[in-house]
């Protein structure tokens, strides 16, 4: 009878092995980077010659760059600090603005009936859906065309354009899961629209808003393609900095920097995902 079902039971181990391989496929490459960021071998990253913290030290300025073999290829801690600062400035500003805009839009679309709602629902998905490169060059053409000087401001604007859609999606899901009678109950008990928003709606959707902010923050911090087109000469972000380093060759310092970024991204994304999935 239940051959397929029982095959799940008879061969659970087959499925589990497959699942294990699937997760290994996702995480092994990342794990190897972490491991080899501690490899002392300065020439071939893949040949293990011993354990070292040197590559991390060059990033924080602990080990003098001059003393390491790799000094010619390494970047100074000051330079790294500068691009990290740029990245954070962009990510915090863009995620904050996108959270306000995305949340306001989600509320408008979830709680009001109006002409053109379908148009907005489709429009909001487009910045996520179209290939990054198309959005990147469209923004480049636009900024240059209207005479915006490329720099951190254009990067922030560009990021807000697609991050608003991400926040919109996360907050909309939260609003859709929220019981609308709570808002009716609040109005019924005499609270005006603003009081209802502040005391009922906002506390209910808060995990979605914060989760949306963190996800937007990390997507902004990691963005390569769109930033690549709209960054000016003096406005390098961390991913662009790494891109430039990678084009010059694979050096151990990049590995260490990659691991730091990876760990930071995972920590922020974990908090964001937990908040997004938290039940009310």
């Amino acid at each position: 009878m239940n051959r397929i079902l029982s095959s799940f039971k008879i061969f659970p181990s087959v499925f589990n092995i497959y699942g294990f391989l699937f997760l290994a496929f996702l995480y092994m490459p990342l794990a190897l980077i972490v491991l080899y960021s501690f490899n002392a071998n300065p020439i071939n990253i893949a040949v293990w010659t011993g354990f070292t913290f040197d590559w991390y030290r060059t990033i924080f300025g602990g080990a003098a760059v001059e003393t390491t073999f790799d000094s010619a290829f390494s970047e100074s801690p000051q330079r790294i600090f500068e691009v990290v600062k740029n990245s954070f400035l962009v990510a915090v500003s863009a995620a904050t603005i996108a959270t306000v805009i995305g949340t306001a839009t989600a509320i408008a679309l979830a709680r009001y009936k109006f002409f053109g709602k379908r148009f907005y629902q489709t429009l909001l998905l487009l910045p996520i859906l179209i290939p990054d490169i198309v959005l990147g060059i469209a923004l480049l053409v636009f900024f240059v065309g209207v005479g915006f000087e490329l720099g951190l401001l254009t990067i922030i604007i560009g990021h807000v354009t697609f991050l608003s859609s991400y926040v919109f999606v996360v907050v909309s899901a939260r609003l859709a899961g929220m019981d609308t009678t709570l808002e009716q109950a609040s109005a019924d008990l005499g609270a005006g629209p603003f009081t209802t928003f502040r005391r009922v709606t906002l506390p209910q959707i808060m995990p979605g808003v914060v989760g949306g902010f963190l996800l937007a923050f990390i997507i902004s911090l990691d963005d390569v393609v769109i930033t690549y087109f709209i960054a000016g000469v003096g406005s390098q972000t961390l991913p662009l900095f790494i891109l430039a380093m990678m084009r010059r060759g694979l050096r151990p310092q990049i590995t260490a920097l990659a691991v730091l970024i990876l760990v930071f991204s995972f920590v922020v994304a974990t908090v964001g995902l937990l908040l997004r999935n938290r039940k009310s």
């Binding site: 051959r3 893949a46 805009i101 839009t105 060059i137 053409v141 560009g158 354009t161």
Partner: protein, 301 residues
């Protein structure tokens, strides 16, 4: 005492307040830029970047290989690059589908606690920096990389395999990057699959293969279609993955666009190429919309 009109107008005011930021944002920084790009694709390239405001359909002509002057002959090089981009994007879709489809069933059969943890594990790599993930595969695929060293040490190959800078490397990298994109829509669909239908099919005498082809596959098709589109779109326009893992050997349309804008400074041609990609994306999405609405109509009838 408030009149009916003010209640309505207050609602309208609130709605305007909520909607105007996104309207301004997407109007000024999304729709207008896309519009300008469309216009540019029909203009003559300026000498030092920028455009000349003259009607110039040859950007599209150039894509299909039209000779621009006496020194050029008909040569559809850009078209063939576009076709090979389509091929790479399609293969990326197929391989990530083959990887994710069984995994979706694996996760859907788990207990709630394990399920949410594994789902989290599968979603998390999406937030790893794109460059970090590419970097990992550079280290893996190099002639002196981990994979070759492992293969050599167990004696499977004598000479290191030349895996990097090939379509293979590009597809591996893209499958790796887009796996969470493919997995989630398929999983959402598989999760909803009603196993009593599977039982019913087997009860009615279908073999496991028949049950799979005639019940499970059709029921999970929307998820497969959704995941395929979500992977196909960024894969088609990608330029970072081919520029690192494909080297100079693998050219995709994305690389052409990048170069038109940042090196040769031929913006109209780059814009035309970008619109070619947009057109393919719109075609694929439209196809899916028509297909699913037809399926809905059939369901309603």
């Amino acid at each position: 005492m408030i009149t009916g009109k003010t209640v309505q107008s207050r609602k309208t005011q609130a709605l305007l307040l909520l909607l105007s930021p996104i309207t301004i944002l997407l109007g000024a920084f999304f729709l207008i830029p896309l519009g300008i790009m469309v216009v540019y694709s029909f203009l003559e390239p300026g000498l030092y970047g920028g455009v000349e405001w003259t009607w110039y359909p040859y950007n599209y002509g150039r894509i299909i290989g039209w000779p621009l002057n006496d020194y050029e002959t008909f040569e559809p090089i850009y078209l063939s690059i576009f076709l090979s981009s389509l091929k790479i994007a399609s293969l990326t879709v197929i391989f990530s589908l083959l990887i994710c489809y069984p995994a979706a069933f694996w996760v859907s059969r788990m207990s709630e606690r394990r399920k949410s943890f594994v789902l989290f594990l599968i979603t998390l790599p999406f937030f790893a920096n794109l460059l970090v993930r590419i970097y990992a595969w550079l280290l893996l695929l190099r002639p002196t990389g981990f994979i070759n060293m492992a293969l050599q040490s167990i004696g499977l190959v004598a000479q290191p395999l030349d895996m990097l800078f090939s379509s293979f490397a590009v597809i591996v990298g893209m499958v790796y990057i887009f796996t969470p994109f493919m997995f989630l829509p398929i999983y959402a669909n598989v999760e909803k699959l009603d196993y009593s239908l599977v039982r019913a099919s087997q009860d009615l005498g279908a073999t496991p293969l028949q049950t799979f082809l005639r019940v499970i596959l059709p029921l999970t098709l929307p998820g497969i279609a959704g995941g395929s589109i979500i992977v196909f779109i960024p894969a088609l326009g990608n330029f970072i993955v081919p520029s690192f893992l494909g080297g100079s050997k693998v050219q995709m349309t994305g690389n052409l666009i990048e170069r038109s804008f940042l090196q040769s400074r031929d913006w109209p041609f780059g814009a035309a190429l970008a619109l070619l990609i947009m057109a393919s994306v719109v075609l694929v999405v439209m196809f899916q919309v028509v297909r699913s609405s037809r399926a809905q109509a059939r369901g309603a009838a």
